[in-house]
């Protein structure tokens, strides 16, 4: 049995999914968190079920790639029960999707989530009455506390057994007539691959749904007979046929909404409105934005720097001990030192910064700050040919480039997706952030690290301008983005999300760091690393870096953290300042921040924007990295600040 969670963006689908799956799907307070499906096996009352979490979708009409993914699953005919999750505080708008889902004639259950929000707004919903009108069970829930979720899944079984497919409210008579005329045409000649109910397809065709119209055109000449029916609708109602249907559906939804809901008290004076008066203010909004990110920076450095120092000393002491124990130059020493340095890198350099960073990022996401940043930044994003929504992939890029590249699926226009995908890989991900903190902030000064972040933003903006000039998007409409209400971060979920991301480092990256570090040690023992270093010597020479860092740059392609951990390995000391000047550290970090995305990111790029796009990203970032590192090198040659 396959159960699908479907609903409009940000209504709590992934939160409900996680309640049965453990923390498997990322949840955040902005529309468009989920962009691909997640599946889990679960047991309800002894039955084995597959439950899938889908991206949010405002409607079943063609949309952005994330919405199309949801639609593809819903139309596949492989879903046995749909759980239609609704944000109860936005019932009226949400019902428009519900009406479309009912047309699919799949057993369905309505989950009225965010009942706490509805209550805060003073909206009372008569769930039994709604259930009566739609012919499907309606279960009120609060996903963040788990309230009502047990009943929900038990009812899923009942719906499946009874095959409760609900009833779709009818449109006005003249529209229904045209729908049934089209029904009979389609019944004699089925023009698409999808096995959807006839009425559903008729309505979609009358709505001029891009996908189905194109399918129909390709497979049959039924379009000749569809157009006159669309025209008839247009004549009667005096507006384009897509608008006729969507207005009609809208009216049905409003009608249902009015029947089942009552405003019992005016919305309580909400402190969140006052907060937005500041956060989204024309002037103070930007001050707060800078303040938040500056505070965030200090928070990470405060914690990380405090922990890095004593841990590094401890590991240095141990590594020194190894030398005494094994004797200089022995193979065992190289091997054990390599392993120990890999372990040390994870504990002393990466985790102290990674943990506070990821917790902070989770909090920002869960509070709902990101869409506000999109609002504030829209103006500036226009200057580089994008619009505000693109800021969301950028911010996610500070966490990890892979989900950031995938998050471009929430952008409507292909050229925007192309440009933003390439640009997000230049945003320093958590791994590169630890390099900036662990190397530059720690050995030089926090201000030098801030300079790198500022330089990065500047370069991304200029690159954006260049790319959007090369690949203009003529059809861009501009920003249309829902701004959800603030939420107190659901502490348990926020921490689980942070852990979900930290675990990725611990189980995948860290072992790789240890192996890589040991491998480099062995290479040093066998003097193989010299080949790598010689191969890269034109580059390291050009940038004025020690030749021995060459190999670390190659390993950095696997995981960005490797460049840092292996740097200490390659230089033979954690006291980096004894072998590199501060200027060299700056040049190295600038290069590492920008050059070629890691393997996993290249794979994600390949998938999202194709082979050519991925190749372009590699060449582009490499050129940017070389140019900037060279400028940095020359700059510090002329102005030796330290």
């Amino acid at each position: 049995m396959r159960i699908a969670l479907a609903g409009q963006p940000n209504c709590g689908k992934s939160t409900i999914f996680n309640s049965i799956a453990g923390y498997k799907a990322i949840t955040s307070n902005f529309p468009g968190t989920t962009v691909k499906y997640t599946e889990t096996k679960t047991h309800i009352e002894g039955y084995t079920c597959n439950c899938i979490d889908l991206p949010g979708t405002y409607s079943l009409t063609s949309g952005d790639p994330a919405e199309l993914e949801a639609r593809r699953h819903l139309l596949s005919g492989e879903v046995d029960v749909i759980i239609n999750v609704i944000d109860a505080s936005l019932l009226c708008r949400s019902l428009e999707l519900t009406l479309q889902l009912l047309e699919l004639e799949v057993p369905m259950i309505l989950c009225l989530n965010m009942m706490d929000e509805a209550q805060r707004k003073g909206i009372q919903i008569d769930a039994p009455k709604l259930s009566n009108l739609l012919g499907v069970p309606v279960i009120p829930t609060i996903a963040t506390t788990g309230k009502g979720l047990k009943e929900l899944f038990i009812d899923v079984l009942r719906v499946r057994e009874e095959k409760r497919i609900g009833k779709t409210p009818k449109f006005s008579k003249d529209i229904e007539e045209i729908v049934s005329q089209l029904d009979s045409i389609l019944n004699s000649e089925w023009p698409v691959k999808e096995k959807v109910p006839t009425r559903f397809l008729s309505i979609k065709l009358l709505e001029n749904d891009e996908f189905f119209i194109n399918e129909t055109k390709r497979n049959s000449n039924a379009t000749n007979r569809i157009r006159p029916l669309q025209e008839k609708l247009e004549q009667i109602h005096g507006s384009p046929s897509d608008e006729v249907i969507s207005s009609e559906r809208h009216a049905l939804a409003m009608n249902l909404f009015e029947k089942v809901s009552t405003v019992i008290h005016p919305p309580k004076r909400d402190i969140r409105i006052t907060i937005d008066n500041w956060v989204m203010h024309k002037f103070f909004g930007y001050l707060i934005l800078v303040g938040v990110f500056y505070g965030f920076f200090n928070f990470i450095f405060g914690i990380g720097g405090y922990i890095e120092e004593p841990l590094m000393e401890l590991f240095d002491y141990w590594i020194g001990g190894l030398e005494e124990f094994f004797g200089k130059g022995s193979l065992a020493l190289f091997l054990f030192r390599g392993v120990l340095q890999g372990i040390a890198g994870g504990i002393a350099i990466v985790l102290p910064y990674l943990v506070p960073f990821l917790i902070g990022l989770s909090i920002l996401e869960d509070v709902g700050y990101l869409p506000r940043v999109a609002f504030l930044m829209d103006v500036f994003m226009h200057k580089i040919g994008l619009h505000g929504k693109s800021i969301i992939p950028f911010i996610l890029g500070y966490g990890c480039s892979v989900p950031a590249v995938m998050a471009t699926r929430i952008l409507e226009f292909p050229q925007h997706r192309f440009i933003v995908s390439i640009l997000t890989t230049m945003i320093p991900c958590a791994a590169r952030i630890t390099i900036i903190f662990g190397l530059v902030a720690f050995f030089i000064s926090p201000n030098a690290a801030l300079m790198i972040f500022a330089l990065n933003i500047l370069v991304v903006a200029v690159s954006g301008k260049i790319l959007s000039t090369l690949y203009p998007e003529p059809g861009s409409l501009g920003l249309i983005l829902e701004i959800p209400a603030y939420q107190l971060p659901p502490l348990k979920n926020t921490l689980k999300k942070s852990w979900y991301r930290i675990r990725e480092f611990i189980v995948i990256a860290w072992p790789l760091l240890i192996i890589g570090s040991a491998l480099l040690a062995l290479m040093e023992y066998g003097k193989v690393d010299l080949y790598f270093n010689r191969f890269l010597s034109p580059l390291t020479h050009l940038l004025g870096l020690p030749v021995s860092v060459g190999a670390t740059l190659i390993f950095g392609l696997l995981r960005k953290e490797l460049s840092l951990i292996m740097l200490t390995q390659a230089l033979g000391t954690t006291q980096v300042l004894t072998v590199m000047t501060k200027s060299q550290i700056m040049v190295f970090t600038v290069f590492v921040t920008f050059y070629i995305p890691c393997l996993a990111t290249i794979a994600a790029l390949w998938k999202e924007i194709g082979k050519k796009g991925a190749l372009l990203a590699i060449l582009f970032t490499l050129s940017v990295a070389i140019i900037l590192a060279l400028i940095t090198h020359i700059f510090f040659g002329i102005f030796p600040l330290w």
């Binding site: 384009p240 809208h250 829209d378 103006v379 505000g388 409409l477 920003l479 249309i480 701004i483």
Partner: protein, 76 residues
């Protein structure tokens, strides 16, 4: 009659028509904006940035260009 981007902060307006192709109608319709709906103007962004409106209980940010394509009538 005016366009949505001309409505003053904290004023309400009723949508008369949306000018533009099916794409823009669809995207706005999904946000609950159709002819006949009431929209409340909440705030303007700086430097001709986007506007923030409330419609059917949800808040939506709209770029100025789009807002200028929504014909409305201000409600006193």
């Amino acid at each position: 009659m005016t366009t949505l981007d001309q409505v003053h902060e904290n004023n309400k307006a009723k949508v008369i028509d949306i000018q533009g192709g099916q794409g823009i109608r669809q995207r706005l319709g999904q946000m609950g904006i159709h002819p006949g709906d009431t929209i409340m103007m909440l705030r303007y962004g700086a430097l001709r940035g986007p506007i923030l409106i409330e419609v059917h209980g949800s808040q939506v940010a709209l770029g100025r260009r789009i807002a200028s394509r929504i014909l409305v009538e201000e409600i006193e």
